[in-house]
């Protein structure tokens, strides 16, 4: 794997730090006019999601991490693992709940999502920004109320609970922004 020096640290670069794959978020060059140069770097640990700040002597280097984001189709959940498929190569990957994390709330069979691979093994799963899911449980709708004011909780087929307007009924399919968990609209079948 390639080695990257502090002056190559750009946002998004994946490197190995303390044996974990990490992504550079921010890199600030700090140098007294007549002294040693440093790089203060904000890094996200891709395993834990935690953001940490580290300081390096300028010119130090870190090994690159073999991390890539790949579009995959979510296939099914066998109880222990969720299975994904790379649609061009048909290659399949399995990920446990630790790797899938909160993405599980938005994964519907056959939907596309992003799987982050580290050394060819799933490291994280990111759902599409918008998903369409069926409401499996919510209080009966209030007829005539289309104002969208107020709202009520609705449980979706994946188990996620979102706030929806009062007029939205059980059995309907809605569009949700997975980044905020917010209801966007009803989906006409």
């Amino acid at each position: 794997m390639a080695v990257f020096s502090t002056n190559e640290f750009r946002a998004g670069l994946k490197v190995m730090l303390d044996n974990d794959p990490c992504a550079i978020i921010e890199n600030e060059f700090v140098k007294p006019g007549k002294g040693q140069a440093f790089n203060r770097v904000k890094i996200r640990n891709l395993k834990t999601g935690r953001v940490i700040e580290r300081t390096f002597k300028s010119g130090e280097s870190l090994e690159g991490a073999d991390v890539i984001d790949m579009d995959m189709q979510y296939l099914y959940n066998d109880g222990d693992y969720r299975h994904f498929m790379q649609p061009e190569s048909f290659e399949q990957y399995q990920a446990d709940s630790k790797v899938v994390g909160d993405a599980a709330l938005w994964l519907k069979d056959q939907d596309m999502c992003t799987v982050t691979l580290w050394n060819d093994a799933p490291l994280a799963v990111t759902p599409a920004n918008f998903v369409e899911l069926e409401i499996v449980e919510t209080d009966p709708g209030v007829r005539g109320d289309t104002s969208g004011g107020g709202g009520k909780p609705a449980k979706l087929a994946t188990g996620a609970v979102v706030r929806v307007p009062l007029f939205v009924a059980q059995g309907e399919v809605i569009k949700v922004d997975t980044r905020t968990g917010e209801y966007i609209s009803r989906v006409k079948e």
Partner: protein, 326 residues
């Protein structure tokens, strides 16, 4: 694809105008004080030796000869040769080049204001710096503060900058969650000073008014003379505003033999660190040998001053084209 390229300047047209006004004011300021504007070569046969300043080098092709030339990291050596030749007080506005330096407040090519005052000591130089900033900022800055390195270092770290103790320095780093400091600095006093000053002291300096820090440790200054009363410190001053380092000045070293010793020490440091080998400026040493007048000098990064004048957050916002677009 060609028109997809970002050809636009990094800064606004208004900033170009503000830069022109700033340059004009500086020239009027020095003209009124009878300081002569000079130009010296950007390309030189010799380079600086400072292990922390990386130079650009190129080859001057004069067949059958190929001569290495260096882009100046500052016009200091050439200006000192003018002083030794009897120029009297001089100033220069020029480009300076430092390889590998790019960031929020760094661009590898930048504009420098450097001036030398014959028969000035550090205190007189600080007076003049304060007057210049009074002019450039239209009196909008609060009262300037002058403080010794030792005092300001102690204020923000509780540590004694002049007397290094690994135990107390590393205990402080642990307490402040600066674990990287221990790994990076080891038992190097100068690295500890650079690290702790950069991250714990400097961000607090010059909020509201100019902050002038003097009395740097001797291990941090290669071209300043030693303080006559305390040989641990040098006659060096650094100028800060809004937590940004703007300038660095000295009561200049005039002793050729001492200068040569410091060059040799730095060349050794470069060798040990496998850095590019410099070409020692023998002409500067010869000039010092023939006699540099007693003088004080200082250099400012003008792009940084403009950044603060224009209330911008990074140097690229005041450059016509930063290195990404150059």
């Amino acid at each position: 694809m060609q028109n997809q390229l970002n050809w636009q300047p990094s800064c606004s047209i208004e900033l170009l105008q503000q830069r022109a006004r700033m340059l004009q004011r500086i020239r009027v300021f020095f003209a009124s004080r009878n300081v002569l504007e000079v130009e010296t070569p950007l390309l030189s046969q010799a380079s600086g030796t400072d292990p922390n300043l990386e130079f650009f080098s190129t080859i001057y092709e004069t067949p059958p000869n190929r001569q290495p030339l260096f882009l100046q990291t500052s016009p200091e050596f050439a200006m000192k040769r003018l002083l030794a030749a009897g120029s009297g007080s001089i100033f220069q506005i020029c480009k300076a080049f430092r390889n590998g330096e790019a960031g929020r407040f760094h661009n590898p090519e930048f504009t420098m204001l450097e001036w030398y005052r014959v028969d000035f000591d550090l205190a007189q130089l600080m007076d003049e710096v304060e007057s210049l900033f009074e002019t450039l900022f239209d009196g909008q800055l609060g009262a300037p503060q002058r403080v010794s390195y030792q005092a300001i270092f102690e204020q923000f770290t509780g540590l004694d900058a002049l007397n290094f103790s690994w135990d107390t320095y590393s205990a402080f780093a642990k307490k402040e969650n600066l674990h990287d400091a221990i790994a990076i600095c080891g038992d190097s006093h100068v690295l500890w000073l650079d690290f702790l000053f950069s991250f714990c002291v400097q961000p607090n300096l010059g909020h509201g008014g100019l902050c002038l820090v003097y009395g740097y440790h001797a291990c941090q200054s290669s071209l300043a003379r030693l303080n006559s009363e305390n040989p641990l410190i040098t006659e060096r001053v650094e100028v800060f505003l809004n937590g940004v380092e703007l300038g660095n000045g000295y009561h200049e070293l005039t002793d050729a033999a001492e200068q040569n010793r410091r060059f040799e020490t730095e060349i050794q440091l470069r060798k040990t660190a496998s850095l590019p080998m410099p070409t020692k400026d023998e002409r500067l040493l010869a000039a010092l040998g023939s006699g540099l007048p007693n003088c004080a000098g200082i250099a400012f990064g003008l792009d940084r001053i403009l950044t603060l004048l224009a209330k911008k957050s990074s140097i690229s916002q005041v450059l016509s084209f930063d290195i990404e677009r150059a």
